[in-house]
């Protein structure tokens, strides 16, 4: 990663490629990132849903935890079963605070170190939180080695044709199932490129996330873009894709004021860390979060999905009223959803309004826009589970 001279924004290893492809660059979490390419958000979104899209997500943080005690140490910061996670199996996790709120969401996978010198936990965290996350992880430094990896770039190849397309280059990629990962070599004319790929993503589609050194990133991206199925996709479509997939965006749909239970992420907390489990509690906010799991009525709000009953897009921050005029809650993410074909939103509402198929009224420019509660995802996930 390097700094641009005139703007203070950090440039990813693919910056020159983005400009060459005609990307519209925007500042995001301190980085210059492509929000869209010339085809635009709608076309990029739909292309990803039907073929394969390549995303530069090098702004995200990559960190390794090393040492025999790393899993047990990380369990003091997240309410997940890390100890029981086998090598090559990936898990969604949350850093929590003492109030039971969410400090960040992340992916964790135990893997062999790149130098072959044993195992490590490989973490991917959000760009906007990574400085704070690394500082939090450093509190574990008497128990494990904390290794930020700013020299690594991250690409995502997403879509129903992503893996079969990639497997033309690296056949063993097709052996991965959803939420597993492994090291691979991508043969190229200029020599093999070593990557660590996981079969996961942030679009609801099948696909891969690929960690590669900054030095090899542009060569790999150009190779992938040379495949006929693959188009470059910007952050604009990444946001509409994840929204349709019902996936939370940190700082919008989850933050320090939302508990995992309110956010509908209870599934991410394994039984072994809940009351009655062998390693129950022992993470920040355990008292609040575990009590809410036992008694959901202790969680005052719920994250819900809404579809618009007319064409008006409903944006983040919009107030929602019940039919009788009482305030029900507020939209946390909302947009026109290209594959769903209309407006969709996520919102937090008081538990009493989280009624299946209930109607709420979004207050948009003085008008009441009717929206109906709908289970998420808005567009079915198409993960490959084998």
């Amino acid at each position: 990663m390097s700094h641009s001279a005139d703007s203070e924004l950090i440039l990813t290893p693919l910056h020159a490629l983005h400009l060459e492809l005609g990307a519209r660059m925007v500042p995001f979490a301190g980085y210059a990132m492509p929000v869209q390419y010339p085809k635009g958000i709608l076309a990029e979104h739909l292309h990803t849903r039907q073929s394969a899209g390549l995303f530069d997500i090098s702004h995200m943080g990559q960190v390794a935890l090393r040492g025999d005690d790393a899993a047990a140490a990380l369990e003091t910061l997240v309410p997940m079963d890390i100890h029981g996670l086998p090598e090559g199996k990936q898990r969604y996790a949350l850093f929590t605070n003492e109030q039971g709120g969410v400090l960040d969401d992340l992916m964790v996978i135990p893997r062999q170190r790149a130098d072959g010198a044993g195992q490590e936990l490989f973490l991917i965290v959000n760009a906007a939180c990574k400085v704070q996350d690394v500082a939090l992880l450093q509190t574990l430094s008497d128990r494990c080695e904390v290794v930020p990896m700013p020299e690594q770039a991250l690409l995502a190849l997403q879509g129903p044709q992503a893996v079969q397309t990639f497997a033309r280059l690296v056949p063993e990629a097709a052996d991965l199932v959803f939420m597993t990962g492994r090291w691979m070599d991508v043969p190229t004319e200029g020599g093999a490129i070593r990557i660590f790929a996981t079969r996961s993503g942030y679009t609801g589609e099948d696909g891969l996330e690929i960690s590669v050194t900054a030095a090899d990133a542009q060569r790999l991206a150009r190779l992938l873009l040379s495949l006929p199925e693959v188009e470059p996709i910007g952050l604009g479509a990444r946001d509409t894709l994840r929204l349709e997939a019902g996936l939370c965006l940190y700082g919008h749909d989850i933050d320090t004021s939302t508990t995992p239970v309110e956010a509908g992420l209870t599934w991410a907390i394994q039984k072994v860390r809940r009351h009655g489990g062998a390693r129950a509690g022992g993470f920040p906010g355990a008292e609040v979060i575990l009590a809410q799991i036992d008694q959901p009525n202790l969680a005052p709000r719920r994250r819900i999905g809404l579809i618009g009953l007319d064409r008006t897009p409903v944006r983040e921050g919009t107030e929602l009223l019940a039919a009788d005029g009482r305030s029900a809650g507020r939209v946390s993410s909302g947009s026109f959803a290209p594959s769903a074909g209309g407006p969709v939103a996520m919102a937090y509402v008081a538990a009493e309004f989280a009624v299946p198929a209930g109607t709420l009224y979004a207050q948009v420019r003085g008008r009441a826009v009717p929206m109906q509660l709908q289970p998420m995802p808005f567009v079915p996930h198409r993960y490959w589970r084998g």
Partner: protein, 124 residues
């Protein structure tokens, strides 16, 4: 007559009967991206120049549409309401937003001609 432009990136074209057609400029649609929704003014209602008369929304953003002049709205583009992408594909023709009967044609003198608008874009 020829097109005039506002600093808010609307265009306006007046016909012989003193009725003006209004839309957003190619620059405006390009900056917004894929238009997915438009809110149009009410036919028969009278607006003052600079009043907010509608909204144009892309996937990412919402922007107000202002009336460049004062007058009564005589027609809105129902085809655009049904297919908002016309604002992207044909912004200065079939992607028009509304027609307004000017109450004070001298207001047109305060708007930019094509050259002045091009200059504005160059310096933006």
């Amino acid at each position: 007559m020829s097109l005039k432009f506002t600093p808010d990136h609307e265009w306006i074209r007046v016909d012989a009967a003193g009725v003006a057609t209004v839309g957003i400029t190619p620059h405006a649609q390009d900056a917004l991206g894929d238009v997915v929704f438009v809110d149009l003014p009410e036919v028969g209602k009278t607006y003052a120049a600079h009043d907010t008369v509608g909204v144009v929304e892309s996937v990412k953003a919402a922007a107000d549409v202002f009336s460049p002049v004062s007058g009564e709205v005589t027609e809105v583009n129902e085809t655009l309401r049904a297919d908002p992408s016309l604002a992207n594909s044909d912004p200065q023709d079939s992607g028009w937003f509304f027609r307004i009967k000017l109450s004070d044609p001298s207001q047109l003198d305060g708007l930019m001609d094509e050259a002045a608008y091009a200059e504005l874009l160059k310096n933006a």
